[in-house]
């Protein structure tokens, strides 16, 4: 089996003929529904028209003006439910405009030619600290640099881009592409990134507060949540984010497991199932507590698992990971929903054998670190409360955006919130 082929990009780069014909189809809608559906409100009909009239530079500028991670977003956005889902062609049963790939066509060209996007103004003598070099942090940094602030990003890991690098499925975007865009932006905007710098305790915070005019929190979410069942700590039972990070940073070249059970019904569970199948597992079983229609995953992500060869079982809840030191199977109990409540069906337990279990039931919030910030309001579900039009938290010196605020959405949301916070900080410091 050819693992490399399995991981071919599902949204490959367009060639110039494809871009010409596809851009020709766009209607240039008024108050375009695709733009309305884009969280960063990219002027889609404009950039498509620019591609069509061979003004690729203009197209890239249009995209980056609204979205600093235009290239990454073109590849990883769930376009089926965003811009492309809103394209008027859907109503005619004509395929929607391939917006994501057109976007990529333009931005890829900009990155390769090191297009000059903006003139950075002279330093205005104020510095901002950003914690976390994920999509939210990078976006905030670009926005602030375009206003002339000095920007220092402190990143716990040894590379940028957060989950866009460590989480997003490899057949959506390659690591090289993710890193290339951040490097392009760093050269363009000139922000500093300090790696292996986890900002953790009160002293770190106090230091930053003393040195910087404002601080942006773009720390995302933490590791995978535990499901709190027996046997969960066995070898070969992993959390999804850890499992994915592992295969993204040290790509597996040999089939690594015979039979994989994936627990969960969200997009991350779908990613794990698809990726395991593509990596050569003989059998992949997706197990979800509720019915198929209750899964939070997008339909097209579920379709990908099926295309890759994964099977699924519904209405089964895991109650124990069985086996000696290593996981050898999962014991499930069947479930049903009665009056909106999930109930176990008694005496319906059964075991499915396996040699790897991946728990994709969510990510924890990084609350311990946040409690070190005085006066920072965190809501019931552990997300930072912010003013949505400025990204400002209850501690006026702190701003936040991305997964840490929205609880875990998409890269494009993090980019938007980072930019809003960048503007918010500027307004706050100008007052």
């Amino acid at each position: 089996m050819d693992i490399e082929k399995n991981f071919a990009q599902i949204k490959p780069l367009m060639n110039s003929s494809e871009a010409y014909y596809e851009s020709s189809r766009c209607l240039f809608c008024y108050d375009a529904p695709c733009t309305i559906a884009c969280p960063t409100a990219i002027d889609i009909p404009l950039f498509i028209r620019q591609i069509n009239s061979e003004n690729i530079i203009g197209a890239a500028k249009t995209i980056y003006e609204s979205n600093y991670l235009g290239n990454t977003c073109g590849k990883v956005c769930p376009t089926e439910v965003l811009c492309e889902g809103a394209c008027v062609f859907n109503k005619l049963n004509i395929p929607a405009i391939d917006i994501g790939r057109l976007q990529n066509y333009a931005t890829n060209n900009a990155i390769l030619t090191k297009l000059n996007l903006v003139e950075i103004p002279d330093s205005i003598g104020k510095s901002i600290a950003i914690i976390g070099a994920g999509p939210a942090g990078i976006s905030c940094a670009c926005q602030l640099r375009s206003e002339g602030y000095k920007v220092d990003i402190f990143e716990a890991r040894n590379n940028p881009s957060g989950l866009a690098l460590h989480g997003v499925a490899p057949y959506k975007i390659t690591n090289e592409e993710v890193l290339m865009e951040v490097e392009f932006l760093r050269e363009q905007f000139g922000f500093n990134v300090f790696y292996n710098q986890r900002v953790e305790n009160k002293e770190d915070m106090e230091y930053l507060e003393s040195k910087y005019g404002a601080i942006f929190l773009g720390i995302g979410l933490g590791g995978s949540t535990a499901i709190k069942i027996r046997g969960e700590n066995k070898q070969n039972c992993f959390g999804a984010t850890e499992f994915i990070e592992q295969i993204k940073i040290e790509p597996i070249v040999e089939p690594f497991a015979k039979k994989v059970i994936v627990l969960g019904g969200g997009n991350t569970a779908m990613d794990v199932a698809t990726e395991s199948a593509k990596l050569g597992a003989e059998k992949v079983i997706l197990a979800y507590r509720r019915t198929k229609s209750e899964m939070k995953a997008y339909y097209f992500e579920y379709d990908l698992t099926k295309d890759a060869g994964a099977e699924s079982v519904f209405n089964v809840a895991p109650i124990e990971i069985v086996g000696k030191n290593s996981a050898e199977g999962v014991k499930f109990i069947r479930t049903e929903t009665i009056d909106g409540k999930l109930e176990y069906i008694s005496s319906s337990e059964f075991v499915i054998a396996c040699d790897l279990v991946v728990k994709a039931t969510g990510q924890v919030k990084q609350t311990s670190m946040l409690t070190n910030i005085s006066g920072l309001k965190i809501d019931k579900s552990g997300q930072i409360s912010v003013n949505l039009s400025s990204g400002q938290t209850s501690n006026p010196k702190y701003f936040a955006g991305g997964d840490v605020v929205n609880g875990g959405k998409e890269v494009v949301n993090a980019v938007f919130e980072g930019k809003i916070a960048g503007k918010g900080i500027h307004e706050f410091l100008c007052k």
Binding site: Y20, Y21, S24, R25, L27, F28, C29, Y30, D31, P33, N52, V88, F89, K91, L92
Partner: protein
């Protein structure tokens, strides 16, 4: 079952589809192949004293994904020896005695004209077409459109040909003139048997904006050429109509210009053409388009009960009138089929910015279907033309059909606006917003 045979000024052809003189009729090989596939006739690539061509000869315009909606060329007449062409012509006629082979000619002196006419007749040509149309390269030497633009010269040269012609003579007209009926009448006066139109339109297809050279590029330079293909059809249709309606022309017409499918051909026939000629579409898609052309034409004739082509030649002509004879009381208004509308709002922005501000958006932005403001709608058609959904915006008749008054009648009745601030101004019936409203968001 429809009969596609035609008799064009004495030239018989199994169907009205002829290859126009150009690259597809450059050789006997091509013409035989075309006849074999079903073409009814061919006008041989213009013969004369052979030329020398440049390299890089064509330029095209594409429109939003469609290649070559207009083609421009700087090629001249044949670059092959006359004897080779004549030999091949004889061979084609031997294999296809019932197909129409027409020799297109362009020479200078009276002697040359007399000689070449006799030569092609001896080779078996069923007819002769005089190329008075080529708008580049040849006209500078006093041939082609230089002739077509001078009615007296055209008449003189056509006369020379008529002196010796034993087969029907067609004069091919250039569109590079303000009134096409003037050379058409000259052809008639000279005794020509038919006219064909249009030849290519003098044009510059575009510029390489980085190198500052027009297309097609010949080293570091370019030159103007002749324009043809789908984009020129409306111009050709109008000229065909003008000739067909002119009482002093009254000659059979071979219609040319932008024909690509059977519908285009039917349009030319309805305006008075008996045969049609096609060049660019063959250069684009090959001889194989004949299958669609004949099948479509047959189907059309059967569905309308036309047994022969003659029965509908010119059938649309009586319905084309002067503007002053149109009914000013006729009134249509746009109507949107809400079930079909996809909410692109192109109609809104077209009417708002480009017409009469007669389409409104819903205050609730989530409802994307626009609304026609009938009071302001002047019935211009614009929205229905740009709507991307078939039959979504239709123009619905609103007058009762009982009233009829034309500009001519109003003029006669002294009922037309005459001064700048006349109360009879047509636009007074329709509300125009105040300029300052444009700046209110």
């Amino acid at each position: 079952m429809a009969n596609l045979n035609i008799n064009f000024a004495g030239i018989k052809s199994p169907n009205p589809f002829w290859l126009a003189s150009g690259p597809p009729t450059n050789s006997g090989y091509q013409i035989m192949k075309a006849f074999d596939q079903g073409w009814g006739g061919a006008v041989w690539k213009t013969l004369g004293v052979p030329v020398v061509n440049v390299s890089s000869r064509y330029g095209a315009i594409n429109h939003r994904g469609n290649k070559m909606v207009g083609l421009n060329n700087i090629e001249l007449i044949t670059d092959r020896r006359l004897s080779d062409n004549l030999r091949e012509m004889e061979e084609v006629k031997k294999h296809f005695p019932d197909h129409a082979v027409i020799a297109s000619l362009m020479v200078q002196s009276k002697t040359e004209w007399h000689q070449i006419v006799k030569d092609v007749q001896n080779a078996g040509a069923d007819g002769i077409e005089l190329n008075f149309g080529c708008p580049h390269g040849m006209c500078e030497r006093g041939m082609g459109s230089a002739v077509g633009q001078e009615p007296e010269v055209l008449e003189l040269l056509t006369g020379w040909v008529m002196d010796v012609a034993k087969v029907p003579v067609i004069v091919k007209l250039t569109p590079n003139i303000s009134d096409i009926t003037v050379p058409a009448q000259a052809a008639r006066r000279a005794g020509a048997d038919a006219i064909s139109l249009i030849n290519t339109i003098q044009s510059l297809i575009g510029i390489d904006i980085d190198k500052f050279i027009a297309y097609p590029v010949v080293e570091n330079h370019s030159t103007n050429g002749g324009y043809c293909g789908p984009a020129v059809k409306p111009i050709a249709l109008n000229m065909v109509k003008n000739c067909a309606q002119n009482p002093y022309v009254q000659l059979p017409i071979s219609g040319i210009g932008g024909i690509e499918n059977w519908r285009d051909a039917v349009e030319f026939i309805l305006l008075g053409s008996t045969s049609v000629q096609i060049c660019t579409a063959v250069m684009h898609y090959g001889f194989g388009i004949i299958r669609e052309l004949t099948a479509g034409l047959e189907q059309y004739m059967d569905s309308h009960g036309f047994a022969t082509i003659d029965q509908f030649v010119g059938k649309a002509l009586p319905n084309i009138k002067d503007w002053a004879d149109l009914n000013l009381k006729y009134s249509v208004k746009a109507s949107i089929d809400e079930d079909k509308c996809i909410g692109c709002q192109l109609c809104y922005t077209a009417c708002e910015d480009g017409a009469h501000q007669a389409i409104d958006l819903n205050d609730d932005k989530s409802i994307r279907i626009p609304k026609i403001n009938e009071e302001n709608c002047v019935g211009c058609n614009l929205c229905s033309l740009i709507c991307p959904v078939e039959n979504c915006i239709t123009m619905v008749r609103k007058d009762d059909g009982k009233q009829h008054i034309t500009w001519k009648q109003r003029t006669e009745a002294d009922n037309i606006p005459l001064i700048f601030d006349d109360e009879l101004a047509g636009g007074l019936s329709h509300a125009v917003r105040k300029p300052i409203d444009a700046l209110k968001k």
